[in-house]
Amino acid sequence: MSDNSYAISVEGLSKNYGTRRSVSALTFNVPYGSICGFVGPNGSGKTTTMRMLLSLISKTSGEGRVLGSAISEPMKYLDRVGAMIEGPAFYPSMSGVENLKIFARMGGLRGTDPNSLLAQVGLAQRGTSKYKTYSLGMKQRLGIAAALILDPELLILDEPTNGLDPNGIQEIRELITGLAQSGRTIFISSHLLSELEVICDYFVMLKAGELMYAGFKEGLLGGNNCDLIAKPEFGVDLANLANIAALRGLDTSIRGGFLHIQRAGELAAEFNRWACEEEIYLQSLTTSSPSLETKFFEMSANQ
Protein backbone atom coordinates (compact mmCIF):
# COMPACT_ATOMS: atom_id res chain seq x y z
CA MET A 1 0.00 0.00 0.00
CA SER A 2 1.20 3.49 -0.77
CA ASP A 3 2.12 5.29 2.38
CA ASN A 4 2.70 8.97 1.93
CA SER A 5 1.82 9.66 -1.66
CA TYR A 6 -1.91 9.93 -1.04
CA ALA A 7 -4.03 11.99 1.32
CA ILE A 8 -6.20 8.94 1.93
CA SER A 9 -5.17 5.40 1.24
CA VAL A 10 -7.14 2.33 2.28
CA GLU A 11 -6.56 -1.33 1.60
CA GLY A 12 -9.03 -4.09 2.35
CA LEU A 13 -10.91 -1.87 4.79
CA SER A 14 -14.01 -3.60 6.14
CA LYS A 15 -16.59 -2.94 8.80
CA ASN A 16 -19.10 -5.42 10.16
CA TYR A 17 -22.04 -4.65 12.40
CA GLY A 18 -22.76 -8.03 13.90
CA THR A 19 -23.24 -10.36 10.98
CA ARG A 20 -24.03 -7.53 8.56
CA ARG A 21 -21.11 -6.32 6.46
CA SER A 22 -21.39 -2.57 6.00
CA VAL A 23 -18.11 -1.99 4.18
CA SER A 24 -16.41 -4.79 2.32
CA ALA A 25 -12.66 -4.85 1.65
CA LEU A 26 -12.40 -1.34 0.22
CA THR A 27 -9.17 -0.46 -1.51
CA PHE A 28 -8.68 3.01 -2.94
CA ASN A 29 -6.42 6.05 -2.83
CA VAL A 30 -7.19 9.75 -2.89
CA PRO A 31 -4.40 11.97 -4.26
CA TYR A 32 -3.28 15.08 -2.44
CA GLY A 33 -4.91 18.28 -3.63
CA SER A 34 -7.86 16.61 -5.30
CA ILE A 35 -11.55 17.15 -4.76
CA CYS A 36 -12.70 13.59 -4.42
CA GLY A 37 -16.37 12.76 -4.79
CA PHE A 38 -17.42 9.82 -2.66
CA VAL A 39 -20.45 8.42 -4.42
CA GLY A 40 -22.92 5.70 -3.59
CA PRO A 41 -26.57 5.12 -2.77
CA ASN A 42 -27.92 5.20 0.78
CA GLY A 43 -26.49 2.40 2.86
CA SER A 44 -23.54 1.83 0.54
CA GLY A 45 -21.04 2.46 3.35
CA LYS A 46 -19.91 6.02 2.61
CA THR A 47 -20.50 7.44 6.08
CA THR A 48 -19.16 4.29 7.73
CA THR A 49 -15.95 4.62 5.71
CA MET A 50 -15.65 8.29 6.64
CA ARG A 51 -16.22 7.46 10.31
CA MET A 52 -13.47 4.84 10.17
CA LEU A 53 -11.10 7.34 8.56
CA LEU A 54 -11.82 9.73 11.44
CA SER A 55 -11.46 6.98 14.03
CA LEU A 56 -14.99 7.52 15.28
CA ILE A 57 -15.66 3.84 14.78
CA SER A 58 -13.29 0.91 14.74
CA LYS A 59 -12.52 -1.07 11.61
CA THR A 60 -13.20 -4.78 11.49
CA SER A 61 -10.26 -5.50 9.19
CA GLY A 62 -7.97 -3.91 6.64
CA GLU A 63 -5.68 -0.93 6.77
CA GLY A 64 -6.06 2.76 6.20
CA ARG A 65 -3.81 5.78 6.16
CA VAL A 66 -4.79 9.42 6.33
CA LEU A 67 -2.17 12.07 5.55
CA GLY A 68 0.47 9.38 5.86
CA SER A 69 -0.54 8.07 9.29
CA ALA A 70 -2.39 4.86 10.12
CA ILE A 71 -6.02 5.27 11.11
CA SER A 72 -5.24 3.32 14.26
CA GLU A 73 -3.22 6.35 15.40
CA PRO A 74 -5.67 9.24 14.96
CA MET A 75 -3.65 11.55 17.22
CA LYS A 76 -1.02 11.72 14.47
CA TYR A 77 -3.27 13.17 11.79
CA LEU A 78 -6.57 14.47 13.17
CA ASP A 79 -5.07 17.86 13.96
CA ARG A 80 -4.68 18.29 10.18
CA VAL A 81 -8.15 17.08 9.28
CA GLY A 82 -11.47 18.92 9.36
CA ALA A 83 -14.71 17.03 9.12
CA MET A 84 -18.44 17.27 8.99
CA ILE A 85 -19.96 13.83 9.40
CA GLU A 86 -23.64 12.90 9.36
CA GLY A 87 -24.65 16.52 9.09
CA PRO A 88 -23.80 19.46 11.31
CA ALA A 89 -23.92 18.90 15.08
CA PHE A 90 -23.84 21.79 17.54
CA TYR A 91 -25.23 22.92 20.88
CA PRO A 92 -28.67 24.29 19.97
CA SER A 93 -29.01 26.89 22.68
CA MET A 94 -25.68 28.53 21.83
CA SER A 95 -24.87 30.89 19.01
CA GLY A 96 -22.72 30.05 16.01
CA VAL A 97 -19.86 32.09 17.48
CA GLU A 98 -20.13 30.37 20.87
CA ASN A 99 -20.21 26.94 19.27
CA LEU A 100 -17.12 27.67 17.19
CA LYS A 101 -15.32 29.08 20.23
CA ILE A 102 -16.02 25.90 22.19
CA PHE A 103 -14.77 23.64 19.44
CA ALA A 104 -11.73 25.84 18.84
CA ARG A 105 -10.84 25.67 22.53
CA MET A 106 -11.26 21.91 22.49
CA GLY A 107 -8.99 21.73 19.50
CA GLY A 108 -6.38 23.65 21.49
CA LEU A 109 -6.63 26.82 19.41
CA ARG A 110 -6.74 30.05 21.31
CA GLY A 111 -6.32 32.66 18.61
CA THR A 112 -9.08 31.39 16.34
CA ASP A 113 -11.46 34.12 15.28
CA PRO A 114 -14.92 32.56 14.94
CA ASN A 115 -16.13 35.61 13.02
CA SER A 116 -13.57 35.14 10.25
CA LEU A 117 -14.60 31.49 9.92
CA LEU A 118 -18.23 32.54 9.77
CA ALA A 119 -17.37 35.15 7.16
CA GLN A 120 -15.68 32.46 5.06
CA VAL A 121 -18.90 30.49 4.92
CA GLY A 122 -21.16 33.50 4.56
CA LEU A 123 -22.63 33.42 8.05
CA ALA A 124 -21.11 36.58 9.48
CA GLN A 125 -24.50 38.28 9.83
CA ARG A 126 -26.00 35.49 11.95
CA GLY A 127 -23.04 34.59 14.11
CA THR A 128 -24.69 35.70 17.33
CA SER A 129 -28.01 33.97 16.65
CA LYS A 130 -28.69 30.72 18.43
CA TYR A 131 -27.94 27.60 16.42
CA LYS A 132 -31.48 26.31 16.85
CA THR A 133 -32.79 29.32 14.93
CA TYR A 134 -30.64 28.57 11.88
CA SER A 135 -32.08 27.28 8.62
CA LEU A 136 -30.78 23.96 7.31
CA GLY A 137 -28.46 25.73 4.89
CA MET A 138 -27.03 27.89 7.67
CA LYS A 139 -26.48 24.82 9.82
CA GLN A 140 -24.59 23.15 6.97
CA ARG A 141 -22.44 26.24 6.52
CA LEU A 142 -21.69 26.36 10.24
CA GLY A 143 -20.71 22.70 9.98
CA ILE A 144 -18.19 23.58 7.28
CA ALA A 145 -16.93 26.52 9.36
CA ALA A 146 -16.32 24.12 12.27
CA ALA A 147 -14.47 21.77 9.93
CA LEU A 148 -12.18 24.68 9.02
CA ILE A 149 -11.26 25.50 12.63
CA LEU A 150 -7.93 23.68 12.45
CA ASP A 151 -7.13 25.10 8.99
CA PRO A 152 -6.94 21.50 7.79
CA GLU A 153 -5.00 19.92 4.95
CA LEU A 154 -7.81 17.45 4.41
CA LEU A 155 -11.53 18.19 4.60
CA ILE A 156 -13.95 15.29 4.95
CA LEU A 157 -17.49 16.43 4.23
CA ASP A 158 -20.46 14.11 4.44
CA GLU A 159 -23.43 15.36 2.42
CA PRO A 160 -22.65 19.08 2.85
CA THR A 161 -25.42 20.05 0.41
CA ASN A 162 -28.07 17.87 2.01
CA GLY A 163 -31.40 19.68 2.12
CA LEU A 164 -30.14 22.88 0.55
CA ASP A 165 -32.02 24.90 -2.04
CA PRO A 166 -30.36 25.60 -5.43
CA ASN A 167 -28.87 28.87 -4.17
CA GLY A 168 -27.48 27.16 -1.10
CA ILE A 169 -26.03 24.36 -3.23
CA GLN A 170 -24.33 26.88 -5.47
CA GLU A 171 -22.90 28.73 -2.47
CA ILE A 172 -21.51 25.52 -0.98
CA ARG A 173 -20.10 24.57 -4.39
CA GLU A 174 -18.27 27.88 -4.65
CA LEU A 175 -17.08 27.56 -1.07
CA ILE A 176 -15.68 24.08 -1.64
CA THR A 177 -14.03 25.05 -4.91
CA GLY A 178 -12.46 28.04 -3.16
CA LEU A 179 -11.18 25.84 -0.34
CA ALA A 180 -9.65 23.42 -2.82
CA GLN A 181 -7.84 26.25 -4.57
CA SER A 182 -5.88 26.84 -1.40
CA GLY A 183 -4.33 23.38 -1.83
CA ARG A 184 -6.53 21.36 0.48
CA THR A 185 -7.63 17.85 -0.33
CA ILE A 186 -11.39 17.51 -0.12
CA PHE A 187 -13.16 14.21 0.32
CA ILE A 188 -16.85 14.84 -0.16
CA SER A 189 -19.89 12.62 -0.29
CA SER A 190 -23.20 13.63 -1.80
CA HIS A 191 -26.29 12.25 -3.44
CA LEU A 192 -26.29 15.15 -5.86
CA LEU A 193 -24.17 13.54 -8.54
CA SER A 194 -24.55 16.48 -10.89
CA GLU A 195 -22.97 18.70 -8.22
CA LEU A 196 -20.07 16.35 -7.66
CA GLU A 197 -19.54 16.10 -11.39
CA VAL A 198 -19.03 19.86 -11.55
CA ILE A 199 -16.60 20.23 -8.66
CA CYS A 200 -14.75 16.91 -8.35
CA ASP A 201 -11.71 15.75 -10.26
CA TYR A 202 -11.49 12.33 -8.65
CA PHE A 203 -14.15 9.80 -7.75
CA VAL A 204 -14.60 6.85 -5.43
CA MET A 205 -17.82 4.97 -6.12
CA LEU A 206 -19.39 2.41 -3.82
CA LYS A 207 -22.30 0.09 -4.03
CA ALA A 208 -23.49 -2.10 -1.15
CA GLY A 209 -20.23 -1.57 0.68
CA GLU A 210 -18.06 -2.57 -2.27
CA LEU A 211 -15.87 -0.46 -4.51
CA MET A 212 -17.14 0.16 -8.04
CA TYR A 213 -14.63 2.74 -9.20
CA ALA A 214 -11.74 4.78 -7.88
CA GLY A 215 -9.87 7.11 -10.15
CA PHE A 216 -9.74 10.39 -11.98
CA LYS A 217 -12.80 11.97 -13.56
CA GLU A 218 -11.34 11.60 -17.06
CA GLY A 219 -11.02 7.87 -16.59
CA LEU A 220 -14.67 7.66 -15.65
CA LEU A 221 -16.33 10.20 -17.89
CA GLY A 222 -13.79 11.18 -20.54
CA GLY A 223 -11.75 9.46 -23.29
CA ASN A 224 -13.24 6.19 -24.50
CA ASN A 225 -16.31 6.85 -22.44
CA CYS A 226 -17.48 9.69 -24.67
CA ASP A 227 -20.21 9.03 -27.19
CA LEU A 228 -19.91 10.28 -30.74
CA ILE A 229 -22.95 12.08 -32.17
CA ALA A 230 -23.12 12.47 -35.90
CA LYS A 231 -25.66 14.05 -38.23
CA PRO A 232 -25.36 13.44 -42.02
CA GLU A 233 -25.99 16.18 -44.53
CA PHE A 234 -29.03 14.28 -45.78
CA GLY A 235 -31.35 12.41 -43.47
CA VAL A 236 -31.59 9.45 -45.86
CA ASP A 237 -27.93 8.63 -45.15
CA LEU A 238 -28.58 8.06 -41.45
CA ALA A 239 -29.07 4.28 -41.79
CA ASN A 240 -25.98 3.95 -44.01
CA LEU A 241 -23.96 5.93 -41.49
CA ALA A 242 -25.12 3.56 -38.75
CA ASN A 243 -23.99 0.64 -40.93
CA ILE A 244 -20.51 2.12 -41.31
CA ALA A 245 -20.17 2.22 -37.52
CA ALA A 246 -21.75 -1.17 -36.98
CA LEU A 247 -19.39 -2.81 -39.49
CA ARG A 248 -16.51 -1.67 -37.31
CA GLY A 249 -18.04 -3.22 -34.21
CA LEU A 250 -19.43 -0.05 -32.66
CA ASP A 251 -22.73 0.17 -30.79
CA THR A 252 -25.11 2.67 -32.33
CA SER A 253 -28.56 4.11 -31.90
CA ILE A 254 -30.57 6.67 -33.86
CA ARG A 255 -32.33 9.36 -31.84
CA GLY A 256 -33.98 12.52 -33.19
CA GLY A 257 -32.16 12.50 -36.50
CA PHE A 258 -28.77 11.94 -34.89
CA LEU A 259 -26.61 8.85 -34.86
CA HIS A 260 -25.24 8.07 -31.40
CA ILE A 261 -22.16 5.87 -31.35
CA GLN A 262 -21.31 4.64 -27.90
CA ARG A 263 -17.81 5.05 -26.48
CA ALA A 264 -16.37 6.25 -29.76
CA GLY A 265 -15.29 9.70 -28.64
CA GLU A 266 -11.68 9.10 -29.63
CA LEU A 267 -12.66 7.88 -33.13
CA ALA A 268 -14.14 11.18 -34.33
CA ALA A 269 -11.54 11.83 -37.04
CA GLU A 270 -11.54 8.24 -38.24
CA PHE A 271 -15.32 8.09 -38.33
CA ASN A 272 -15.42 11.27 -40.40
CA ARG A 273 -12.95 9.68 -42.85
CA TRP A 274 -14.98 6.45 -43.08
CA ALA A 275 -18.12 8.49 -43.83
CA CYS A 276 -16.32 10.50 -46.54
CA GLU A 277 -15.02 7.30 -48.15
CA GLU A 278 -18.67 6.22 -48.52
CA GLU A 279 -19.51 9.71 -49.84
CA ILE A 280 -21.57 10.63 -46.85
CA TYR A 281 -20.80 14.12 -45.63
CA LEU A 282 -21.47 15.13 -42.07
CA GLN A 283 -23.43 18.21 -41.07
CA SER A 284 -22.25 17.88 -37.48
CA LEU A 285 -19.97 15.62 -35.49
CA THR A 286 -19.71 16.10 -31.73
CA THR A 287 -18.70 14.13 -28.67
CA SER A 288 -20.87 13.76 -25.59
CA SER A 289 -19.60 12.63 -22.21
CA PRO A 290 -21.95 10.55 -20.15
CA SER A 291 -23.06 12.29 -16.97
CA LEU A 292 -21.82 10.98 -13.65
CA GLU A 293 -25.37 9.92 -12.95
CA THR A 294 -25.61 7.93 -16.19
CA LYS A 295 -22.25 6.37 -15.55
CA PHE A 296 -23.14 5.54 -11.98
CA PHE A 297 -26.36 3.78 -12.95
CA GLU A 298 -24.62 2.02 -15.79
CA MET A 299 -21.91 0.71 -13.49
CA SER A 300 -24.43 -0.19 -10.81
CA ALA A 301 -26.41 -2.23 -13.32
CA ASN A 302 -23.31 -4.03 -14.51
CA GLN A 303 -22.26 -5.11 -11.03
Binding site: L54, Y91, M106, G108
Partner: protein
Protein backbone atom coordinates in the same frame (compact mmCIF):
# COMPACT_ATOMS: atom_id res chain seq x y z
CA UNK B 1 -3.13 17.07 33.04
CA UNK B 2 -2.17 16.76 29.37
CA UNK B 3 -2.56 19.71 27.03
CA UNK B 4 -5.50 18.11 25.23
CA UNK B 5 -7.27 17.45 28.55
CA UNK B 6 -6.59 21.05 29.57
CA UNK B 7 -8.00 22.27 26.23
CA UNK B 8 -11.04 20.03 26.66
CA UNK B 9 -11.59 21.50 30.13
CA UNK B 10 -11.42 25.04 28.76
CA UNK B 11 -13.89 24.14 26.03
CA UNK B 12 -16.27 22.55 28.52
CA UNK B 13 -16.05 25.55 30.83
CA UNK B 14 -17.14 27.80 27.98
CA UNK B 15 -20.45 25.93 27.88
CA UNK B 16 -21.24 27.17 31.39
CA UNK B 17 -20.45 30.79 30.56
CA UNK B 18 -23.97 31.56 29.47
CA UNK B 19 -26.19 33.98 31.32
CA UNK B 20 -29.34 31.87 30.86
CA UNK B 21 -27.62 28.77 32.24
CA UNK B 22 -26.00 30.55 35.15
CA UNK B 23 -29.18 32.44 36.06
CA UNK B 24 -31.36 29.35 35.95
CA UNK B 25 -28.98 27.14 37.91
CA UNK B 26 -27.78 29.65 40.50
CA UNK B 27 -31.20 31.34 40.68
CA UNK B 28 -33.16 28.16 41.36
CA UNK B 29 -30.50 26.89 43.75
CA UNK B 30 -30.45 30.20 45.62
CA UNK B 31 -34.24 30.39 45.95
CA UNK B 32 -34.56 26.77 47.07
CA UNK B 33 -31.69 27.05 49.53
CA UNK B 34 -33.29 30.17 50.96
CA UNK B 35 -36.64 28.39 51.31
CA UNK B 36 -35.17 25.18 52.75
CA UNK B 37 -32.93 26.94 55.29
CA UNK B 38 -35.65 29.47 56.13
CA UNK B 39 -38.12 26.63 56.67
CA UNK B 40 -35.64 24.72 58.87
CA UNK B 41 -35.12 27.78 61.07
CA UNK B 42 -38.81 28.65 61.19
CA UNK B 43 -39.52 25.21 62.67
CA UNK B 44 -36.69 25.42 65.21
CA UNK B 45 -37.45 26.17 68.83
CA UNK B 46 -36.14 29.34 70.45
CA UNK B 47 -32.57 28.98 71.77
CA UNK B 48 -32.39 25.53 70.14
CA UNK B 49 -28.99 23.93 70.60
CA UNK B 50 -29.58 21.63 67.62
CA UNK B 51 -29.34 24.49 65.15
CA UNK B 52 -25.96 25.59 63.89
CA UNK B 53 -24.43 27.27 60.86
CA UNK B 54 -24.41 24.11 58.73
CA UNK B 55 -27.84 22.67 59.64
CA UNK B 56 -29.57 24.43 56.79
CA UNK B 57 -26.63 23.73 54.47
CA UNK B 58 -26.96 19.99 55.13
CA UNK B 59 -30.62 20.12 54.17
CA UNK B 60 -29.97 22.19 51.05
CA UNK B 61 -27.27 19.72 49.96
CA UNK B 62 -29.96 17.20 49.10
CA UNK B 63 -31.43 19.51 46.47
CA UNK B 64 -27.94 20.46 45.28
CA UNK B 65 -27.12 16.77 44.86
CA UNK B 66 -30.21 16.12 42.76
CA UNK B 67 -29.52 19.22 40.66
CA UNK B 68 -25.90 18.13 40.16
CA UNK B 69 -26.90 14.63 39.15
CA UNK B 70 -29.27 16.05 36.53
CA UNK B 71 -26.74 18.57 35.17
CA UNK B 72 -23.93 16.00 34.93
CA UNK B 73 -26.12 13.31 33.35
CA UNK B 74 -27.57 15.79 30.89
CA UNK B 75 -24.26 17.46 29.93
CA UNK B 76 -22.66 14.09 29.28
CA UNK B 77 -25.48 12.33 27.45
CA UNK B 78 -26.37 15.31 25.28
CA UNK B 79 -23.02 14.99 23.51
CA UNK B 80 -24.50 11.85 21.98
CA UNK B 81 -27.99 13.17 21.30
CA UNK B 82 -26.77 16.43 19.76
CA UNK B 83 -24.11 14.50 17.86
CA UNK B 84 -21.46 16.93 19.12
CA UNK B 85 -19.30 14.10 20.45
CA UNK B 86 -18.11 13.30 16.92
CA UNK B 87 -17.12 16.95 16.40
CA UNK B 88 -15.29 16.92 19.71
CA UNK B 89 -13.51 13.64 19.06
CA UNK B 90 -12.28 14.83 15.69
CA UNK B 91 -10.77 17.88 17.43
CA UNK B 92 -9.74 16.09 20.64
CA UNK B 93 -9.06 12.55 19.45
CA UNK B 94 -8.27 11.28 22.94
CA UNK B 95 -11.44 10.05 24.59
CA UNK B 96 -9.56 10.10 27.87
CA UNK B 97 -8.78 13.80 27.45
CA UNK B 98 -12.41 14.51 26.61
CA UNK B 99 -13.58 12.77 29.78
CA UNK B 100 -10.97 14.43 31.97
CA UNK B 101 -12.01 17.77 30.50
CA UNK B 102 -15.68 17.14 31.17
CA UNK B 103 -15.04 15.90 34.70
CA UNK B 104 -12.75 18.82 35.51
CA UNK B 105 -15.21 21.40 34.19
CA UNK B 106 -18.16 19.82 35.99
CA UNK B 107 -16.07 19.58 39.18
CA UNK B 108 -15.39 23.30 38.97
CA UNK B 109 -19.09 23.99 38.47
CA UNK B 110 -20.02 21.72 41.41
CA UNK B 111 -17.43 23.43 43.59
CA UNK B 112 -18.92 26.85 42.91
CA UNK B 113 -22.46 25.55 43.35
CA UNK B 114 -21.53 24.04 46.72
CA UNK B 115 -19.77 27.22 47.81
CA UNK B 116 -22.75 29.28 46.69
CA UNK B 117 -25.17 27.01 48.57
CA UNK B 118 -22.98 27.29 51.64
CA UNK B 119 -22.87 31.08 51.41
CA UNK B 120 -26.62 31.45 50.86
CA UNK B 121 -27.45 29.01 53.66
CA UNK B 122 -24.96 30.71 55.97
CA UNK B 123 -26.37 34.17 55.29
CA UNK B 124 -29.94 32.95 55.84
CA UNK B 125 -28.88 31.07 58.99
CA UNK B 126 -27.09 34.11 60.40
CA UNK B 127 -30.13 36.23 59.65
CA UNK B 128 -32.62 33.75 61.17
CA UNK B 129 -30.48 32.79 64.16
CA UNK B 130 -30.88 36.21 65.74
CA UNK B 131 -34.65 35.84 65.78
CA UNK B 132 -34.31 32.47 67.48
CA UNK B 133 -31.83 33.62 70.05
CA UNK B 134 -29.06 31.40 68.70
CA UNK B 135 -25.56 32.83 68.42
CA UNK B 136 -23.77 31.47 65.36
CA UNK B 137 -20.84 33.86 65.45
CA UNK B 138 -18.61 31.36 67.32
CA UNK B 139 -18.96 29.00 64.32
CA UNK B 140 -17.06 31.55 62.29
CA UNK B 141 -14.15 31.86 64.68
CA UNK B 142 -10.94 29.89 65.20
CA UNK B 143 -11.13 26.13 65.14
CA UNK B 144 -14.91 26.16 64.64
CA UNK B 145 -14.44 27.96 61.35
CA UNK B 146 -12.08 25.22 60.16
CA UNK B 147 -14.66 22.60 61.12
CA UNK B 148 -17.32 24.55 59.25
CA UNK B 149 -15.11 24.81 56.16
CA UNK B 150 -14.27 21.09 56.35
CA UNK B 151 -18.00 20.45 56.47
CA UNK B 152 -18.40 22.55 53.35
CA UNK B 153 -15.62 20.57 51.64
CA UNK B 154 -17.34 17.31 52.53
CA UNK B 155 -20.52 18.77 51.10
CA UNK B 156 -18.59 19.27 47.88
CA UNK B 157 -17.23 15.69 47.93
CA UNK B 158 -20.69 14.19 48.50
CA UNK B 159 -22.15 16.32 45.71
CA UNK B 160 -19.23 15.39 43.43
CA UNK B 161 -20.01 11.73 44.04
CA UNK B 162 -23.55 12.30 42.78
CA UNK B 163 -22.11 14.24 39.84
CA UNK B 164 -19.86 11.33 38.87
CA UNK B 165 -22.86 9.03 39.24
CA UNK B 166 -24.69 11.31 36.77
CA UNK B 167 -21.76 11.35 34.31
CA UNK B 168 -21.56 7.55 34.41
CA UNK B 169 -25.30 7.25 33.78
CA UNK B 170 -24.98 9.70 30.88
CA UNK B 171 -22.17 7.65 29.33
CA UNK B 172 -24.00 4.37 29.75
CA UNK B 173 -27.45 5.44 28.54
CA UNK B 174 -26.35 8.09 25.96
CA UNK B 175 -29.69 9.81 26.51
CA UNK B 176 -30.22 12.76 28.89
CA UNK B 177 -33.83 11.84 29.61
CA UNK B 178 -33.08 8.21 30.39
CA UNK B 179 -29.98 9.10 32.41
CA UNK B 180 -31.82 11.68 34.52
CA UNK B 181 -34.86 9.42 34.93
CA UNK B 182 -32.73 6.49 36.06
CA UNK B 183 -30.73 8.69 38.41
CA UNK B 184 -33.81 10.19 40.02
CA UNK B 185 -35.63 6.86 40.09
CA UNK B 186 -32.77 5.26 41.95
CA UNK B 187 -31.98 8.16 44.27
CA UNK B 188 -35.49 9.24 45.18
CA UNK B 189 -37.66 6.16 44.85
CA UNK B 190 -35.76 2.87 44.83
CA UNK B 191 -33.36 3.81 47.62
CA UNK B 192 -36.17 5.28 49.72
CA UNK B 193 -38.26 2.15 49.21
CA UNK B 194 -35.33 -0.12 50.01
CA UNK B 195 -34.38 1.99 53.02
CA UNK B 196 -37.98 1.90 54.24
CA UNK B 197 -38.35 -1.83 53.77
CA UNK B 198 -34.91 -2.75 55.07
CA UNK B 199 -33.77 -0.03 57.47
CA UNK B 200 -30.55 -1.89 58.33
CA UNK B 201 -29.20 -1.52 54.80
CA UNK B 202 -30.62 1.95 54.17
CA UNK B 203 -27.41 3.81 55.03
CA UNK B 204 -25.32 1.40 52.98
CA UNK B 205 -27.05 2.35 49.75
CA UNK B 206 -25.11 4.60 47.36
CA UNK B 207 -27.06 7.86 47.42
CA UNK B 208 -27.66 7.69 51.16
CA UNK B 209 -23.96 7.05 51.58
CA UNK B 210 -23.03 10.04 49.39
CA UNK B 211 -25.38 12.10 51.55
CA UNK B 212 -23.67 10.85 54.71
CA UNK B 213 -20.31 11.76 53.18
CA UNK B 214 -21.59 15.25 52.43
CA UNK B 215 -22.63 15.58 56.06
CA UNK B 216 -19.18 14.47 57.27
CA UNK B 217 -20.48 11.08 58.42
CA UNK B 218 -23.72 9.78 59.91
CA UNK B 219 -24.91 7.97 62.99
CA UNK B 220 -22.98 4.71 63.21
CA UNK B 221 -20.93 5.52 60.10
CA UNK B 222 -17.58 7.20 60.38
CA UNK B 223 -16.42 9.69 57.81
CA UNK B 224 -13.72 7.31 56.57
CA UNK B 225 -16.29 4.55 56.21
CA UNK B 226 -18.50 6.85 54.08
CA UNK B 227 -15.52 7.93 52.00
CA UNK B 228 -14.42 4.34 51.34
CA UNK B 229 -17.90 3.12 50.53
CA UNK B 230 -18.52 6.09 48.21
CA UNK B 231 -15.29 5.36 46.37
CA UNK B 232 -16.34 1.74 46.01
CA UNK B 233 -19.75 2.65 44.56
CA UNK B 234 -18.23 5.19 42.18
CA UNK B 235 -15.73 2.64 40.98
CA UNK B 236 -18.52 0.13 40.52
CA UNK B 237 -20.48 2.37 38.16
CA UNK B 238 -17.53 4.19 36.57
CA UNK B 239 -15.68 1.12 35.33
CA UNK B 240 -18.44 -0.17 33.03
CA UNK B 241 -19.18 3.42 31.94
CA UNK B 242 -15.53 4.01 31.02
CA UNK B 243 -15.27 0.68 29.27
CA UNK B 244 -18.37 1.38 27.18
CA UNK B 245 -17.21 4.92 26.38
CA UNK B 246 -13.86 3.65 25.19
CA UNK B 247 -15.20 0.75 23.14
CA UNK B 248 -18.39 2.10 21.65
CA UNK B 249 -18.57 3.50 18.16
CA UNK B 250 -19.53 7.15 17.94
CA UNK B 251 -22.44 7.38 15.58
CA UNK B 252 -26.09 8.21 15.61
Amino acid sequence: MSKSAFDATRGELLKFRRLSFLLSVFGSLGVLTLLIVGFAWSRAEKHSSSMNLTTGFDMALFFLGILTLCICASYTAQEYTYGTLRNVLVLTPSRQAFLIGKLSALSALIFFLTLYTFLVSSVVSLFMSGRHGVNLIPSLEGKALLTTLAHCLNGFLGTMALGIFGIALGLITRSPIIAISLGLLWSLIIESALGGALPRIGRWLPTANFESLAQSGATGFTYIHCLGLSAFYLLLISLPALYLFKQRDVSQ
